[in-house]
Amino acid sequence: MLSYALRRLFGAIPTIFIIITAAFFMMRIAPGGPFDQERTLEATVMENLNATFGLDLPLWQQYGMYLGNLFRGDMGPSFIYRDMRVQEILGEGLPVSVQLGLTALILALVVGAALGTLAALRQNSSTDYTVIAVATFGITVPNFVVAPVLSLVFAVMLNWLPAQGWGEARQMVLPVIALALPQVAIIARLVRGAMIEALRSDHVRTARAYGLPARMVVLKHALRAAILPAVSYLGPAAAALLTGSIVVEQVFNLPGIGRYFVQGALNRDYTLVMGTVVIVAVFVVVFNLIVDLLYALLDPRVRYD
């Protein structure tokens, strides 16, 4: 399994290389540049800026330079945050996003799996319906509604928690809930569906027939199978969650990196977008690998040798 993991990671290098290349050129085809803003710049000024950032060079040369710098661990200067290099910007923001995303992920997984299992065990009972209703509600209301409402109720009206900012545990509560809510809903539904199926499967029936206690059957045998679709879903979801959420970060004013995807793209901050692309690519590769390994671990029928 270890050699398989290493092989996968090693094999990911060309993947990441292709992503970087595709993103680099796609981005340059988009109209507008980093210095096009509401306040149009003087022609001379624009020329100076382009020269400072090497934008006046042929594209292939810029590409070569970018790759060269990247190889040396330098992601280049940000076009917008001019006092910083991209690795510094991402280095400051990534821990925030990861901390936030990981907390939300764990919360979502635990709560979601618990709710899903509960609903499945009492299929078609009122508990089941309540869980489904709550879970469905969690999916139907968009983030940009949930987050401000949470902030309004708990920060402005009740004054229990801060409305914005980062650094204290208290400040994490609302953003984590806002982030986890839709995930809880999705996971609960996935687990419920798979759990119902698992409870009817032969090996769970067999385990029951052997007279194993119901709780143990559920936890040990059924949950193991029932969590599979959720794990499958979690690969990409985790990558997305850990690399930040634009809406939640904006509403709670958090210094994560989620904002840079959209902001960087809208500002044509080429190097910053490239940086986020590299990070997302790495996360996706790693999480996909983790998912596949988990699959092998949870499902004895899947083996990687």
Partner: protein, 380 residues
Amino acid sequence: MTDIANPAPEIAAGEWAAGRSLWAVALMRLRRNRAAMASLVVLIFMALAGIFGPSVAPHDYSEVYPEFVKVPPSFAPYPQEDQIVPAAEAALARARVDIAGIEVGDGQVEIDVTSERREIDPRIARYLDRSDVFSGTEMVTVADDGLSATMRADVAQLYFIAGTDANGRDLLSRILISLRISLMIGALATGVALMIGVLYGATAGFAGGRLDNVMMRVVDILYSLPFVFFVILLVVFFGRNVVLMFIAVGAVEWLDMARIVRGQTLSLRRREFVQAAESLGVRSRDIVRRHIIPNTLGTVIIYMTLMIPKVILLESFLSFLGLGVQEPLTSLGVLIAEGAKNMRNAPFMLFWPAATMTILLFALNFLGDGLRDALDPKDR
């Protein structure tokens, strides 16, 4: 699908014995599921509302009523009693006349106007007609000296039962048109994603080995591309239209589906009935089509019911960035985004679109669950 002739134990044995196809049984089971049937009714109703609603609604979805900006929902007609007098005063404010008295009654209004020096110009009737509130204004009497007159006008009866938006457009009409657009986007994008994703995932999972590796590598690459840029490029090169959005959204969303189906296929491949089919020499294509895909349907359908809301939300995110549906058209996502900005001063602008979306998505979810239960081949 009645051509499922292979008596694979997992799928059809029981059903065939009874002489009914899997799908007929599924339909029968679905009919017994009341929540799913209710959802189906709701969905059909919403689809009909989206298709025919905009043409039967009392207002056109793009008609602007400058005098009724962000008015709250009401079953009473606008202008409401206490608004008529101020409306008349506002309409005549520029006519350079003094208002001596206003009487309201019977869907009509009578206004006595006076002027100190200048003779009253009968054209001032048009000031009233210009307003959305009054129509058919006539000068009933004009005094001989021309310094006073009485005007009569019909008062409009406009119903905004869901209120109006920031431009004074009827929210109900806008919700109806948004239903049409959102349902179209949801259905088409999901359809595209479903087709590509299921075929792709099942093929990769079943083929395994090198092909699987390459195919999943492609998915990884697509996953990590900057989506915003992808859409900006599409919009710039191919112009801005709704069909393009389906393609863009569908082209992104099939990735999840492919992964999930592949995961399922990986386990299915190890199952006895698949191995049996393989050893019997059934062609891979047929195994995928007859065994793998039908067995992933349960998960796929659950996931699909999760995907339609996701597509609708994604669309709203795009519209939020200005890359989505164009004015004067609108979508549920756009309306909710607008409402979210106004949630504290005009909560109804958020409430009605959000309620519509919630009901729509609830119905989709319950129907999905119903379908899953109905299609579950193991539930005998």
